[in-house]
């Protein structure tokens, strides 16, 4: 390495600090060819020599990147060097979401447990890779680097940000290299975010090397006379890549340095034998270095040595590629017809790189094969929660084969997950127009399921399943018939005639095997529980939950145990409800994004039982877990839950602060209810002006049925009573308390009906365990009477 003493010193300083436990980020920025990769390689060499662990991945911009491609490369590198994974952790299995070989190399074979929602999949990928990174620097400090970060796929950048935010306490140096232009907004945002969060980020500008360094570099490549060295210095302008290419050209007998890289690579290619020339062209088309297996599949026997000896290609980490991306780009720009080359590369690539293969097949003029690969790439992207990429891939698939209805059906589902209603409907219209009649019932079932889950519109779901029912024919399979009945049962359970759900499930049971697959069995149990709740038959839920086999299905376990916990809380059996919440916590330990909700339920039940210290400890764990997930909404929701636990324990100021954070942070809770709770906390700690203002803010919040407006009105009156009492207006306070008590008494008559309804509305609209949403009119009435007595 020539002329980089200053930059190396900066990197060494950062490494020493990181190795001592002060994790940090270094960004190497400079123009193409300036030597970023070489500098990084030198740093990695030194870190390795000092006993540190190193892993380098590279961003690859080939126009069809597999989501998390850069981190997949890093993870592959890390799993090869880390100590055996701890026996109790589930993260090695979760890593297999990215690629099955990752878990296997850590001694954990088999697939990770299924989760239906893409957002959960993405969070699980994030968590498992973060765990791997933490594990990789548990026994020694580590250097993890993302070379050419400006080319990295979007999902990898998001994951880099996730990990970057957590490295301050790790012995980890994260290095990113990037070109100085054009600007890369995703990368800029990532760095701005880290800086805003006080993560140490050092930017090292890599400028031109000095003339003396260029001369030294030229001399290291070839022996030139002084005049030739001067010509190299003049041509390179401090750029090491140009210096090397100019030196090679002059050493090869050219009278002057090449005017540009394109000319230089033409010269280098010109001296290669036929096989070497072909290999160079194929690698230019591939867009990234290829593995030995991929090179073998290209079917070129000779030529590799000549190409590497000529300096154009290089072997790094078992892969063969261009010495620099600029050289590859220069070769590619000179290719006249690439169709056959893309075809050959498509057949040689690792079959797991579906998006890349699809792109090459598209460019090779094989649209049908390309569409199949784009669809497979979309399915993978969907499985790791990369929905934007999934939509892109399916969009390309539909361009390749626009008359394939199944592709439009898959696309409409991804659009639904992305919340793109209009595009979802457009894709649905295309799908139904193109699908054969025999497949329409199943398509309507899929749509019904979509409305059951992502879109969350019970009425629309019911309508879709009814549509499917009408399309059933004698040829329809038992599976489809059972799916229709189960879908109808859910719609009836949550939004129609709840009592009818059981009959529909029994009909479905007649069509299913004696032991249905676990997913279906768990679905049926979940629907049964919802139907029972809706009918106010709370206590019966426990038996259904205990009979459900959800051990391998954390998301189903979450729904079954937590809904049952809520049902038992509705029935007033809080001890039994807590036991169910504990089951839920145990079943979701490996899935933090589900675990947070289970901890919330547990905390509220503990608070309800007056076990305030345990409740506080549980919400502390919930908040830690939510923070780690890097989802602001979950963190705000956890703050809300902690606020309610504090309010129940009488820690009013703390409650007000936490609920304020929750409201400002967009917690996914009933906002008017949260606003009223904060107003109550403020009133109870004597901050009456703030309480009055918060009460007014509560009245400005949107109210839907999940907010149980019938409960908001007497609650507001009760808080008005607290404020009036605090201001010494005895008569007004009594009138407010009477008004509140009157409201709660009216509710008592219909307590199970309104509670069940409110519960289900909470579940469907807020999608979280609504223990917190359960309102107990009798208890509220007691509280009002206590406040009234205190004010007398």
């Amino acid at each position: 390495l020539f002329g980089r003493a200053t930059e190396l010193a900066a990197l060494s300083t950062a490494w020493r600090a990181a190795a001592d436990g002060a994790g940090q980020v270094v960004v190497l920025t400079g123009e193409a060819g300036i030597g970023k990769t070489s500098l990084l390689a030198e740093l990695a060499h030194r870190v390795g020599g000092a006993g540190g662990r190193t892993a380098i991945g590279a961003g690859i911009d080939v126009g069809g990147e597999t989501p998390f491609a850069a981190w997949l490369e890093l993870a592959r590198s890390l799993v090869g060097t880390v100590p055996p994974a701890p026996a109790h952790g589930s993260w090695p299995v979760e890593l297999s979401r990215l690629s099955p070989e990752l878990g296997a190399r850590l001694g954990r074979h088999g697939p990770p447990t299924a989760v239906a929602a893409p957002e959960l999949e993405r969070l699980r990928v994030f968590e498992s890779v973060l765990r791997l990174v933490e594990w990789s620097c548990a026994d020694r400090p580590a250097l993890i680097a993302l070379d050419d970060a400006h080319r990295a796929d979007r999902a990898s950048l998001r994951l880099t940000a996730h990990i970057g935010r957590r490295l301050a306490a790790l012995p980890l140096l994260l290095v990113l290299t990037r070109r100085d232009r054009p600007s890369q907004p995703d990368l800029d945002m990532l760095l701005a975010d880290l800086t805003r969060r006080a993560i140490p980020v050092t930017e090292v500008e890599i400028g031109p090397i000095t003339d003396d360094s260029v001369a030294a570099l030229a001399s290291s490549v070839s022996t030139l006379d002084d005049a030739a060295v001067r010509r190299v210095i003049e041509a390179a302008d401090g750029n090491p890549l140009l210096a090397v290419e100019s030196t090679r050209a002059l050493a090869a007998g050219h009278t002057a340095p090449p005017p540009n890289l394109r000319t230089a690579v033409r010269a280098a290619l010109g001296v290669l034998p036929a096989n070497g020339h072909l290999l160079a062209r194929l690698l230019a088309v591939a867009g990234r270095p290829l593995t030995s297996t991929e090179i073998d599949r290209l079917g070129i026997t000779d030529g590799t040595d000549a190409a590497t000896e000529g300096g154009l290609l290089i072997r790094r980490d078992g892969r063969l590629g261009y010495r620099h991306a600029l050289l590859r780009e220069a070769v590619y720009a000179d290719l006249a017809d690439t169709t056959a080359l893309h075809d050959r590369v498509a057949n040689a690539l690792d079959p797991g790189d579906r998006a890349e293969i699809a792109r090459h097949l598209t460019l090779a003029g094989r649209p049908v094969d390309a569409a199949r690969q784009w669809a497979a790439a979309a399915a993978y992207a969907r499985s790791v929660g990369a929905l934007t990429e999934a939509a892109e891939f399916l969009g390309r698939a539909t361009q390749c084969t626009p008359d394939d209805g199944s592709l439009w059906l898959a696309l409409q589902e991804v659009r639904a997950w992305l919340g793109q209603q209009a595009q979802m409907e457009a894709a649905w219209q295309r799908a139904t127009a193109l699908l054969p009649e025999a497949e329409l019932a199943a398509a309507w079932c899929r749509r019904g399921h979509q409305f059951r889950t992502v879109v969350c519109d019970p009425a629309a779901s019911l309508a879709a399943y009814r549509g499917a029912e009408k399309l059933l024919t004698e040829q329809s399979t038992s599976d489809v018939r059972a799916t229709v009945l189960i879908g109808l049962a859910w719609g009836e359970a949550v939004a129609g005639d709840a009592a009818a759900a059981e009959g529909l499930l029994a009909e479905a049971g007649d069509l299913l095997p004696a032991r249905p697959d676990p997913e279906t069995a768990a679905d049926i149990a979940g629907i049964r529980i919802q139907g029972l709740i809706r009918q106010g038959r709370f206590a019966e839920c426990a038996d259904v939950a205990r009979a459900a086999d959800v051990a391998r299905l954390p998301d189903r376990a979450f729904a079954v145990w937590i809904n049952t916990a809520c049902a038992l809380a509705c029935a007033g059996d809080h001890e039994a409800a807590l036991a169910m919440a504990d089951e839920a916590v145990a079943a979701t330990e490996s899935v933090p994004v589900l675990l947070v909700g289970c901890l919330a339920a547990r905390a509220h039940l503990l608070a309800r039982l007056g076990r305030h210290d345990e409740a506080a400890e549980t919400v502390r764990r919930q908040r830690d877990c939510a923070d780690r997930l890097d989802a602001p909404g979950l963190a705000a929701t956890a703050a809300h839950d902690a606020g309610l636990v504090a309010l129940a324990a009488g820690r009013h100021r703390e409650a007000a602060d936490l609920l304020g954070q929750a409201l400002a942070g967009g917690a996914h809770v009933s906002r008017p209810a949260a606003a009223l709770s904060r107003a109550e906390a403020l009133a109870r700690c004597g901050d009456l002006d703030a309480a009055t203002a918060q009460l007014r803010a509560a009245a400005m919040e949107p109210v839907g049925r999940a907010d149980q407006p019938w409960a908001l009105v007497p609650r507001m009156a009760g808080i008005q009573g607290l404020i009036a009492a605090g201001r010494g207006d005895h008569d007004l306070a009594m009138a407010r308390y009477d008004e509140a008590a009157s409201g709660w008494r009216r509710m008592l008559a219909a307590v199970s009906e309104v509670t069940a309804d409110g519960y289900l509305a909470n579940l469907v609209d807020l999608g979280r365990p609504p223990v917190v949403g359960l309102v107990e009119p009798a208890r509220e009435l007691t509280r009002i009477e206590r406040d009234r007595a205190a004010a007398r």
Binding site: P702, M716, A735
Partner: protein, 136 residues
């Protein structure tokens, strides 16, 4: 073609919260909403109103509040009438607005509705002003 509609306003010395409570408690509608005799809460948060003099003519309603400054929407699911109530705090007093949309098919009821709502908004303003009148 524009939908038949009208707007009414009223002012009350009551704080906004007291008007809000009356608007969010359908069981109290008969106390101020002219032409509403009985209200019964239903499943799913909806409720049914029986117009005065029509005990056999239940009208399903839906109540919600949207994001625009706490605007309270009450939709009649039978007749498609939509009432958009909006409250503006004026210190400890409140300005009340109501915008009523009628479908073309109900255009003939415009004047009747205007008369009923004029009476209703004034009764709402008056009722909200009397916290001691809270139902016991």
């Amino acid at each position: 073609m524009t939908m038949p509609s009208f707007d009414l306003t009223a002012h009350t010395d009551a704080p906004l919260e007291d008007v809000w409570k009356l608007l969010h408690d359908p069981t109290r509608f008969p106390e101020w909403w002219a032409g509403v005799e009985t209200v019964q809460a239903e499943q799913q948060g909806d409720y049914t109103m029986w117009p005065t003099g029509f005990p056999d003519f239940p009208m399903a309603q839906r109540l919600r509040t949207d994001h625009a400054d706490g605007r309270v929407m009450i939709s009649c699911l039978v007749s498609d009438l939509e009432f958009r109530w909006q409250l503006h705090a004026d210190g400890d007093a409140t300005d009340i607005e109501v915008h009523v949309d009628l479908p073309e098919s109900e255009a003939h009821r415009l004047e009747t509705q205007r008369t009923l709502l004029t009476e209703s908004i004034n009764r709402l303003a008056e009722l909200a002003r009397r916290p001691h009148s809270a139902r016991r």
